[in-house]
Symmetry: C2
DNA sequence: CTGAAAGCGCTTACAG
DNA sequence: CTGAAAGCGCTTACAG
């Protein structure tokens, strides 16, 4: 396959390669007529710039890694897809890495960095707890999507996430308003620096604010797969403590739990209401449809790229907090207030 | 951060850059003592080769693209994940591209190739129909996963897929044996060169072999998302032609259809049995669980990498056919044979 | 076994 | 607004 280069375009358009390059990189510095003619030739010849040559000059690799922790997490997969797709327009190419939910994402980041000389890293579903040193060592623009990293206060770090604490609170409040008092929780207590940990704190504090105690027996720790959600709900049921609602820290877990409830002859929402977190498409197609606290995936993806771009341009990282959006669903119902 | 180049290493080791390059690429062509000394300097200086410069000169870049057509196709996403994960051990790095289900994957492949000088392409969910010329033009190792490309007979092309025709036949046969005679189909008639097209032919021919006519009214064309499956099932219901079972050409479509049936007050499996295709995890957590014809994702991923490796080593492409595996589920039931 | 030199395709500071 | 020329960091055919 004969490869079309910038020289072919230049010859065909009767200009120098400098001008062609300018049309590509700084179109406003070129005479509009010339630019148009060159563009025409580019299209006609199907010219595609050689990224290797381009990046060689510009002294960067044009690669950013997207490290996705939690292979089976529908929301993160979705988010990754949005990011990769949005990135197509830009000069960045994304290397998508899937790592295990409880694997070390900083280790993965570091070896990728050395291998590929990345110009940025995007972390999806990371847990920041006690990792400040590792992060500092990385020394390149990092964006955390879905986790608030403002606590770290590093220049090369930005983040975008929903206000997980508030979102957790609001989800619990929604159930409280519907009359629920015995609310079980399925999730992972990752602590203050963890997205889902914050959700749990939000839920707990909402309940406490209403004078409801945090009941250990109504909490089951689980990681974020359908299978684990199913298992966790079974554990919960086996404890034989009454509950009228379940808040799962992700839709995937919620869907696994719905299945478990059904398998045990417990009806949703007649016997138990179920609430998820994330707003994945699958939840809307469950039976009953899953009520959930949505994270705006599109917007998170867009802002992630924006933040990465800013840091690559030398600006300090920012930390963006978005609101969760409550999505009603058939999986919850109002009940007579429990005593 | 000062970047260490091959020149720094050369100076430090007291040799030419040619020799350093040789140590990197053809160590056996260098005097062992020299090689060792250079290696020492490389380590001491933490030299990492600039991939852009290297790739600019070299034939193969160490990058292969995975082009996933059908963003919302759970099975393909799963498969992509397996491939990327398996690839971690090898020298290949995968660039994952998501393109729209009915977009042109060869166009995407071509521009990625030109931009990044790929050393291979993996197509997930491709439709080969009439694309032989485009494929030939690509002129680099290509593997089609989930589509049988043996009909093309190109040296640089390999494929691995389940025997979709047979799998379609067997799914239909399973329903036939349970007494079903009026079997509706949801999917996309992509023709002989399309994975799901073959499934549909298999279903049709199985029905014909039992003397059942192919009824246009019981077929609805739809692409592979939950939403489209939901819509297609509604179209089907609106036609008011009786049917006792639905075969969907993917689990995603089947799950959308189950929701639609439920929304319209039609019970699964009491009123209608539903069968999917793929074997995604979500199907097992549906209510009722989805009976489906599984594709072995792990194995497809493994063989895909194997085939790519073989072709990069100069061997001709092979075409591997696997068997689909029938997975029973609560979404089907036996009925009294219709007349 | 080793090195000087050409060149991969592009970008940009400089001169006009 | 445009072009000639230097150079990004590497690989390899060629000569020694």
């Amino acid at each position: 396959m004969r490869v079309v280069t910038i020289l072919d375009v230049a010859r065909e358009a009767g200009v120098s390669i400098t001008t062609v390059s300018r049309v590509l990189n700084h179109p406003d510095e070129v005479d509009p007529n010339t630019a148009e003619r060159v563009q025409g030739v580019i299209r006609r010849l199907n010219y595609v710039r050689n990224a290797n040559a381009s990046n060689l000059k510009q002294r960067h690799t044009g690669f950013a890694a997207v490290i996705l922790r939690g292979r089976r997490n529908l929301f993160l997969t979705d988010l990754a897809e949005h990011i990769v797709s949005l990135g197509r327009g830009t000069r960045l190419q994304f290397l998508l890495e899937f790592i295990d939910e409880r694997a070390d994402e900083f280790l993965a980041a570091r070896s990728l960095y050395l291998e590929r000389k990345l110009s940025g890293i995007i972390f999806l579903g990371s847990n920041l707890l006690g990792r400040e040193q590792e992060l500092k060592r990385l020394d390149l623009p990092c964006v955390f999507a879905t986790v608030d990293a403002s606590g770290l206060n590093l220049n090369q770090v930005g983040s975008v996430s929903v206000d997980n604490y508030r979102a957790g609170w609001e989800a619990a409040e929604a159930l409280y308003q519907l009359g629920h008092r015995r609310i079980a929780m399925l999730g992972y207590f990752g602590g203050e620096a963890d997205a889902t940990g914050r959700r749990l704190y939000g839920v707990r504090d909402c309940l406490l604010s209403h004078g409801l105690p945090f009941d250990e027996d109504l909490f089951v720790d689980c990681s974020f797969t359908l299978q684990r959600g199913w298992e966790a709900a079974n554990v919960l049921i086996d404890r034989r403590k009454p509950f009228s609602a379940v808040i799962a820290m992700s839709d995937t877990v919620a869907m696994g739990a719905m299945k478990a409830l059904h398998d045990r002859g417990i009806r949703v929402p007649e016997d138990v209401s179920v609430v998820g977190f994330d707003g994945v498409e699958q939840g809307r197609f469950c039976t009953p449809s899953l009520a959930t606290m949505c994270q705006p995936a599109q917007e998170i993806a867009r802002i992630t790229l924006e933040l990465l771009g800013e840091m690559r341009a030398g600006k300090p990282g920012r930390h963006v907090l978005l609101s969760g959006l409550w999505q009603p669903g058939g999986s919850v119902r109002a009940i007579a207030t429990e005593t």
